[in-house]
């Protein structure tokens, strides 16, 4: 008898679940999470609607849920620290998510930081690759060998004679994905080492060495920053906002001649940077009326502008022209086209 009551209760709840809701649901990147939840809180406090729910699932996980279909049980927005892939868009379309708008909000730089008491460090992406890859080209450049480098000056005599120790994010992190893509696959997939690595059967090579030189340091960037305070030889890899917050203790290495400053990250001169975005499911606009309010509040100079409140949280604002264009396309619900995803 109790079981029948329970199944009846379940059925009753079922009918509740399919109604329209006034609360926005978001998933996606942990990098965008602090910005999205700040805007969500602001909307809840001043917009007269329930505070949107922001879940941090990682970019890939968010895309999967976002593209799972249309309906009140799927998220309305997914945050991303990279562009949507064409395969993900195809998945979306196959599941009926046909009307998507992309909103570019700003940039995040991946910083190689060190204890401030050290002399400034000038690195190139090639040197970073040689320091972290498990297999590197041999000195004559003809074969691939296990990484022999233990100190920075073995890679380049002009670099300091310091042991290579790198505290970096673990495999589950989006920061790690971006780092591998921009410093390692940059050479092994597009650059001058492509032939060598593909010839050895190593496609999309981005394996980080496991001989103790690279130390996985957890998702918590705070921890990496703390470790740099104790270990003066070490280099840490983390998001730009942590450099800004700890500028009195930590300095960022220049990469390919560009220092990790907001201006150089925004202009793309600093090479290890990525764009932050969110994707809006326009199919839900009718049933979730707060969606437009959220987009209008987020895509506004007060939030993402040069003096916007998200800058205090570490967002690197877009250049003025790009920003205006992005705000316009997001607030006018410009549909995302497959072709535009091909562009960088």
């Amino acid at each position: 008898m109790k079981k029948t009551t329970i199944s009846l209760a379940l059925l009753a709840v079922l009918s509740v679940a399919s109604e329209a809701r006034d609360q926005i649901k978001m998933v996606g990147s942990s990098t965008v999470y602090p910005f999205a939840s700040a805007v969500a809180e602001q909307l809840g406090a001043t917009g007269g609607v329930p505070t949107p729910v922001v879940e941090s699932t990682g970019t890939g996980g968010g895309m999967k849920m976002f593209c799972a279909g249309v309906g009140m049980n799927t998220p309305d927005i997914t945050n991303a620290s990279r562009r949507m892939k064409s395969s993900e868009l195809a998945q979306c379309r196959a599941n009926g998510v046909t009307d998507i708008t992309e909103a570019l909000i700003g940039y995040d730089g991946i910083v190689l930081g060190q204890n401030k008491s050290n002399a400034p460090l000038k690195l190139t992406r090639k040197e970073i690759f040689l320091a972290v890859a498990e297999k590197v080209p041999s000195a004559d450049g003809k074969s691939i060998i296990n990484n022999p480098y233990k100190t920075w000056n073995q890679i380049n005599p002009s670099l300091p004679n310091r042991a290579i120790t790198i505290y970096g994010p673990p495999k589950s992190s989006g920061t790690r994905d971006s780092f591998e893509e921009m410093t390692m696959q940059h050479f092994t997939e597009e650059g001058d080492l492509k032939g060598l690595y593909h010839g050895a059967g190593l496609k999309k090579y981005s394996k980080i060495r496991t001989d103790g030189v690279w130390v996985d340091s957890g998702e918590n960037d705070n921890l990496i920053v703390q470790k740099l305070g104790k270990n003066k030889n070490a280099i840490g890899i983390f998001g730009y906002s942590f450099l800004e917050e700890n500028g009195n203790k930590i300095s960022g290495a220049t990469v390919d001649g560009a220092a990790p400053t907001p201006a150089l990250i925004a202009s793309g001169k600093y090479p290890i940077s990525r764009s932050l975005r969110f994707y809006i499911k326009n199919n839900h606009r009718g049933e979730v009326p707060a969606l437009d309010k959220y987009v209008a509040m987020f895509m506004n100079d007060k939030m993402i502008g040069e003096r916007g409140s998200l800058k205090r949280l570490g967002l690197i604002p877009l250049a003025k022209g790009t920003r205006a264009a992005s705000i316009k396309s997001a607030t006018s619900h410009a549909p995302l086209k497959a072709l535009s995803l091909m562009q960088k």
């Binding site: 079922l14 679940a17 999205a36 700040a38 729910v53 922001v54 879940e55």
Partner: protein
């Protein structure tokens, strides 16, 4: 001489000294094991309490506040330039709303206690902070005049999560925990107890029932994250219940708690002596009457103890709730079972990843509250056991 005596003593044991020694060693090893665990516990508690107590205090500043049409339009003008940055962003955000609710303050400049920024709060507590030297002198000045004060942190106990550290509290997650646990109890307790009764009193002993038994015992040891995956597949994807809601979270935790309740329930029922049942049958009672009037009431203290401990464990659980979307930024206090909610351990987890010192403090503060609740629940379990325990 003495050797001689010993040699002739039929009870003399040459290994006696050695045996006593190993006895002593064993005793001290066991004792040091206990000491180590007590030491760990002490370190844990002193660390949590010393870090957590400050979170129950929050700095407020006494300042003149300008209420007029200009400052309502842009609340950053309500506080003079010198103190502008010392006041919480949450205060600026909520000020227009406050004025619309209290129109009598309009066009006045009352002196009020306003919420201070978390960095001022951290400075007041002597913790690491990012105040500039200039700001520090301003705070010191205010301190001399008695215009900055650490007051009891009511916000911490009355609000939900916030991206503004000084504005964040754990009430929303506490309410979420209560709703989730209510769902968990409503499903796990009756189903668990009924299953235990069936398995113990009605079931015939055959291959099938043995298989079920083994599986239930195994389920009790399954890692909790797997129940999260089950909850996602069954409740969200199949039944279509709302993600992140207390309902889904409670059902998922109920799945996890069920085997614990069944196993402990069966043990409790089994401890009711067979003589009671036989006497009842002898009087011609039906099985239902025997269970309802005799076995269940006598087994209840044991069942309750097991259930409370299982539910206390569910209350501290985070892993399965990650999968069903309850670990998220959910600042609103939930008012129904289908609304998005978060739970206390989840709130502790999200705060622990934040960079600001004020959150680290709140982590320990929230842990203290959670521990207090869990200890109370366990105390209740012990009370029930002691009060209704019957020695046969």
């Amino acid at each position: 001489m003495s050797n001689n005596i010993n040699n002739h003593n039929p009870f003399y044991d040459p290994t006696l000294k050695k045996r006593h020694l190993s006895d002593k060693i064993f005793k001290y090893m066991a004792m040091s094991a206990l000491l180590i665990s007590v030491a760990f516990l002490l370190v844990f508690f002193t660390d949590i309490i010393s870090k957590g107590l400050p979170s129950y205090k929050q700095a407020y500043i006494e300042l003149p506040v300008k209420y007029n049409t200009e400052t309502v339009a842009d609340s950053s003008f309500a506080i003079d330039e010198k103190h502008y940055e010392l006041v919480s962003r949450a205060w600026y955000r909520d000020m227009p709303k406050y004025v619309s609710e209290n129109p009598e303050v309009m066009n006045k400049t009352p002196i009020e206690w306003v919420l201070a920024d978390d960095e001022v709060d951290q400075y007041m507590k002597g913790h690491q902070n990012t105040l500039t030297d200039e700001q520090k002198t301003v705070v010191e000045e205010l301190k001399k005049q008695g215009k900055v004060e650490s007051k009891f942190n009511t916000l911490f106990f009355t609000t939900g999560d916030s991206k503004i550290p000084e504005n964040s509290g754990f009430l929303a997650s506490a309410v979420g925990s209560i709703l989730t646990i209510l769902v968990c109890i409503a499903f796990a307790f009756p189903i668990g107890v009924m299953s235990a009764i069936y398995l113990e009193e009605f079931k015939k002993d055959n291959k099938m029932s043995q298989l079920i038994e083994i599986n239930i015992n195994n389920l009790a040891a399954v890692p909790s994250i797997l129940f999260g995956l089950l909850g996602l597949a069954v409740f969200i994807n199949f039944f279509g219940l709302p993600r992140s809601s207390a309902l889904v979270g409670g059902l998922t935790l109920a799945l996890m708690t069920l085997p614990v309740i069944i196993v402990s329930g069966r043990t409790a029922l089994r401890s009711v002596p067979a003589s009671i049942r036989q006497a009842a049958y002898g009087l011609g009672l039906t099985k239902w009457q025997v269970v309802k009037d005799h076995v269940l009431p006598l087994g209840m203290p044991g069942i309750l103890t097991g259930s409370i401990i299982g539910i206390a464990r569910a209350m501290g659980e985070t892993a399965p709730l990650i999968i069903v979307g309850m670990i998220a930024f959910i600042p609103d206090i939930p008012t129904s079972f289908t609304q998005a909610a978060t739970v206390m351990p989840a709130q502790i987890f999200t705060w622990a990843g934040m960079p600001e010192g004020a959150y680290i403090e709140r982590v320990s503060g929230a842990i203290m509250v959670l521990l207090a609740i869990l200890l109370t629940m366990n105390a209740v379990a012990i009370y029930f056991r002691k009060k209704y325990e019957i020695k046969w």
